[in-house]
C-alpha cells in the first residue's frame, strides 16, 4: 500500500488548516501551469515541502511558545477556541468562540449541499456520494423562526443552577439554510417574535467545582 502524495501533504498540512487552504489554491494553479514540465514540478514540490516544514517549525516552536510575543496560534487557527474566560462548554464540538463572537459548529456536504448539526451527526440527500464533508461555522446572526416559553423544568440530564423557568427556547434560521434550537437569553420578552434578528451567544447552565461557568450556546434577540 502506498500513500498518495495528496495524503502525505494532508498529514503535513493537518495541524495548520488556514495555511492548507492558501497552499492548496496555489498548488492547483501551479499544477495546471507546470503540467508538462517535470523539472519545474519537482522544484515546486520541493519548495512546498520546504514551506510546510517551515510552517510546522513555526507552528509548533514559535507560535506554540509565543516566542515573538504575539498570540500567533490564535490567528492561525481562525481564532477557534474550545473555552474562553473561565467558560467551558457543557459538551464539546458544538460551538466555538471565534473573533469575539460565538458561532455554532456545523458541517456541510459539498456533494449534496446538506448542512447538519452537530458536525458529527452526518446527514445527506439520498443518492449522495457523501464525499467532501467539511466543518463550517454558522453565521453569528440569524432569524427567529419559532419560539416557546417553558414553564416546567425538564428532568435530568438537564442541569442548571436551580430552577430557571420560565425560559424561552427559540428555533433560529441561519443564512446557511439550517435551523437550530437553543435557549433565548438576555432578551426583552416583547422583542421575542417570529422574524426577530438574533445573535449566537453563550448561556451559563451552572458552575463546576472549580468555579468555571459551564455553558451552552444561546441566542440573544438584537434590538432593531
Amino acid at each position: 500500500m502506498t500513500l498518495s502524495s495528496g495524503k502525505v501533504i494532508g498529514i503535513f498540512y493537518a495541524p495548520c488548516p488556514s495555511l492548507l487552504i492558501l497552499l492548496r489554491r496555489d498548488t492547483d494553479a501551479f499544477q495546471e501551469w507546470l503540467n508538462d514540465n517535470h523539472f519545474l514540478r519537482l522544484v515546486s514540490r520541493l519548495f512546498f515541502i520546504l514551506l510546510i516544514l517551515l510552517a510546522r517549525v513555526f507552528y509548533f516552536v514559535v507560535a506554540e511558545d509565543d516566542l515573538l510575543g504575539f498570540e500567533w496560534r490564535r490567528t492561525l487557527t481562525m481564532d477557534k477556541k474550545d473555552s474562553e474566560k473561565g467558560k467551558i462548554p457543557a459538551l464539546p464540538d458544538l460551538f466555538t468562540w471565534s473573533e469575539d463572537c460565538v458561532r455554532i459548529r456545523s458541517a456541510k456536504c459539498n456533494s449534496c449541499g446538506t448542512y447538519f448539526f452537530p458536525e458529527y451527526h452526518e446527514q445527506h440527500r439520498p443518492g449522495c456520494s457523501r464525499e467532501g464533508v467539511e466543518k463550517v461555522l454558522l453565521s453569528n446572526t440569524g432569524e427567529l423562526a419559532s419560539y416557546t416559553t417553558m414553564y416546567y423544568m425538564p428532568p435530568p440530564p438537564f442541569k442548571t443552577q436551580g430552577d430557571i423557568t420560565p425560559y424561552i427556547i427559540g428555533l433560529v434560521e441561519f443564512p446557511e439554510g439550517i435551523q437550530v434550537c437553543g435557549i433565548v437569553v438576555e432578551s426583552e420578552s416583547d422583542k421575542v417574535e417570529i422574524g426577530a434578528k438574533v445573535e449566537t451567544t453563550t448561556y451559563t447552565l451552572y458552575k463546576d467545582d472549580e468555579g468555571r461557568d459551564v455553558v451552552t450556546w444561546g441566542f440573544r434577540v438584537l434590538n432593531k
Binding site: T149, P154, I178, C181, I194, T216
Partner: protein, 393 residues
C-alpha cells in the same frame, strides 16, 4: 399476499398502576383479545410484541416474557421498536407473517408503564444519542418541539388559542364516555383556557399525559376467520413510514432542521398514510372514523392536513364547523384520543386499532359512530416513525 382480518381485540385500561408490572398488564390485554377472538393461545402461530424501553432487558423481550405466562409453544416471537409507532410496527410484523402465507394466526401486543413526568434520556453519549444533546444543552422535552411547530402554524394559518382549547373540549366529551380512558372529566373552554401554560402556546390540558396501558389484537387469514368469529374486521392496509429528506419539521431528538422544505411537514406520517391509501385503494374521503395521534392540540389539526383530510390551513375550520365530531364528516378520535388516555409508548398504536375495530363492529355504546364502514388509525413516533392502518367491514 393474503387478506388478513382482526379476530379479537383486548385492552388493559389506561391509567397509572404502580402495583402492576408490564407483564401483568400485557397478560390482561392478551387474555381479553383471546376471549374476544374466541381463539385459544395454543392456536397462535406468531407473536409480535412492542419493546417496552423502560423495562431493561426484560422490556426488550416483552414477547418472550408474555409467552411464558400463557405457556411457551415455540412459535416465532419478534420484539420491535419504533418509538410511539411501536404498536404499528408490531401489527405490521404480525400482518406480514400471515399475508405472506407463513402462518394463519398471529398476535400483536404492546404494553407500557411510563416513568413519572416528562420522558428523559436513556444514555449519556451525545455522539451516539441525539437525546443527550437536546436534554443537556437546551432542555427540550417533547412538548417543546410541538410548541415550536404550533407557533409556526399559528403564524401561518391563523390558529387561535381557542382552536387549541376546542380540541380538548371536544375530545374530553368522548373520553368521558369511554370506560377504558384514564381521564373522564368533561372540560369547558374556560377551564382549558385558564389552565397553566406548560410551553406556550400549550396549556396543561392541550397536551397528553404519559400513562400505563396495554393492548393486543389477534390477526387471522381472512379465509380462515369464519372458523372463529362472525364479525371479522378486515385490514385494508397497515404501513410504516419514515422521514423524507428535506422535511422541515423540527423532529424530536434533533436540534436542527432544514430551513427550506423539500418534503411535507411530518413526512414520515405523510409517507405512511399515502402508502396505505395506495395499497388499499381507499382515500381520506372514504374514511368514517379516524384515530389520530393527538399528542397535542397541534397534532390534531396538523394530522388532518398531513393525512389529506383537508387542505393546508383548513383543519381549524373543520373543527369549528363540527366536521370532525362523532356525527361529522369524519369522526376524529371518538375514543377520546390521547388527551383522554395519555401516551403508553409501546401500546398506544395497538390501542388505536382496537378502538377503530370496536367502532366498525358497532360496540362503542354511547360514543358509537353511526354505521361506520371504514376506519383508520394513524400513529406518530419521534425521530421519524409513523404507521397507518386502514380497516373495513
Amino acid at each position: 399476499m393474503r387478506e388478513v382480518s382482526i379476530l379479537g381485540v383486548g385492552l388493559h385500561p389506561w391509567g397509572k398502576f404502580p402495583d402492576s408490572t408490564f407483564v401483568d398488564m400485557g397478560t390482561v390485554a392478551i387474555a381479553n383479545a383471546l376471549k374476544d377472538g374466541n381463539i385459544e393461545w395454543k392456536e397462535i402461530e406468531n407473536v409480535a410484541a412492542g419493546i417496552y424501553i423502560w423495562g431493561g432487558n426484560a422490556g426488550h423481550l416483552v414477547g418472550q416474557y408474555l409467552a411464558s405466562v400463557f405457556g411457551e409453544t415455540g412459535v416465532p416471537i419478534t420484539n420491535v421498536y419504533a418509538a410511539c409507532a411501536t404498536g404499528t410496527s408490531a401489527l405490521r410484523a404480525a400482518y406480514l407473517a400471515i399475508a405472506s402465507g407463513q402462518v394463519d394466526t398471529a398476535l400483536a401486543v404492546g404494553c407500557d408503564i411510563s416513568p413519572p413526568g416528562m420522558l428523559g434520556a436513556k444514555s449519556d453519549n451525545p455522539r451516539q444519542d441525539r437525546d443527550v444533546l437536546r436534554w443537556r444543552m437546551v432542555g427540550m422535552p417533547n412538548p417543546t418541539y410541538w410548541a415550536l411547530e404550533c407557533r409556526k402554524r399559528m403564524q401561518k394559518c391563523g390558529t387561535t388559542e381557542e382552536d387549541l382549547a376546542r380540541v380538548k373540549v371536544l375530545l374530553s366529551q368522548y373520553g368521558a364516555l369511554n370506560p377504558n380512558a384514564r381521564y373522564r372529566k368533561v372540560y369547558t373552554m374556560e377551564e382549558v383556557l385558564t389552565s397553566k401554560f406548560v410551553c406556550e402556546p400549550f396549556r396543561l390540558f392541550e397536551l397528553c399525559a404519559t400513562s400505563d396501558g396495554a393492548a393486543a389484537v389477534i390477526l387471522c387469514a381472512s379465509a380462515k376467520a369464519s372458523k372463529y368469529t362472525t364479525k371479522p374486521v378486515r385490514i385494508a392496509a397497515t404501513t410504516l413510514g419514515s422521514s423524507m429528506y428535506g422535511d422541515p419539521t423540527i423532529r424530536i431528538s434533533a436540534l436542527s432542521a432544514p430551513a427550506k422544505a423539500e418534503a411535507p411537514l411530518l413526512s414520515e406520517s405523510y409517507s405512511a398514510s399515502q402508502q396505505a391509501y395506495k395499497q388499499s385503494g381507499i382515500g381520506p374521503e372514504d374514511i368514517d372514523v379516524l384515530e389520530l395521534p393527538d399528542n397535542s392540540s397541534w397534532h390534531y389539526l396538523q394530522y388532518l392536513e398531513t393525512c389529506g383530510f383537508c387542505g393546508e390551513g383548513e383543519a381549524e375550520k373543520m373543527l369549528r364547523d363540527g366536521e370532525t365530531a362523532i356525527d361529522g364528516k369524519v369522526a376524529v378520535c371518538p375514543s377520546g384520543g390521547f388527551t383522554s388516555f395519555g401516551e403508553a409508548i409501546a401500546a398506544q398504536a395497538i390501542w388505536q386499532v382496537v378502538e377503530a375495530c370496536l367502532q366498525l363492529r358497532g360496540e362503542c355504546g354511547e360514543r358509537q359512530v353511526k354505521g361506520p364502514k371504514v376506519a383508520m388509525a394513524q400513529t406518530y413516533g419521534l425521530m421519524g416513525n409513523s404507521g397507518t392502518t386502514i380497516m373495513k367491514v
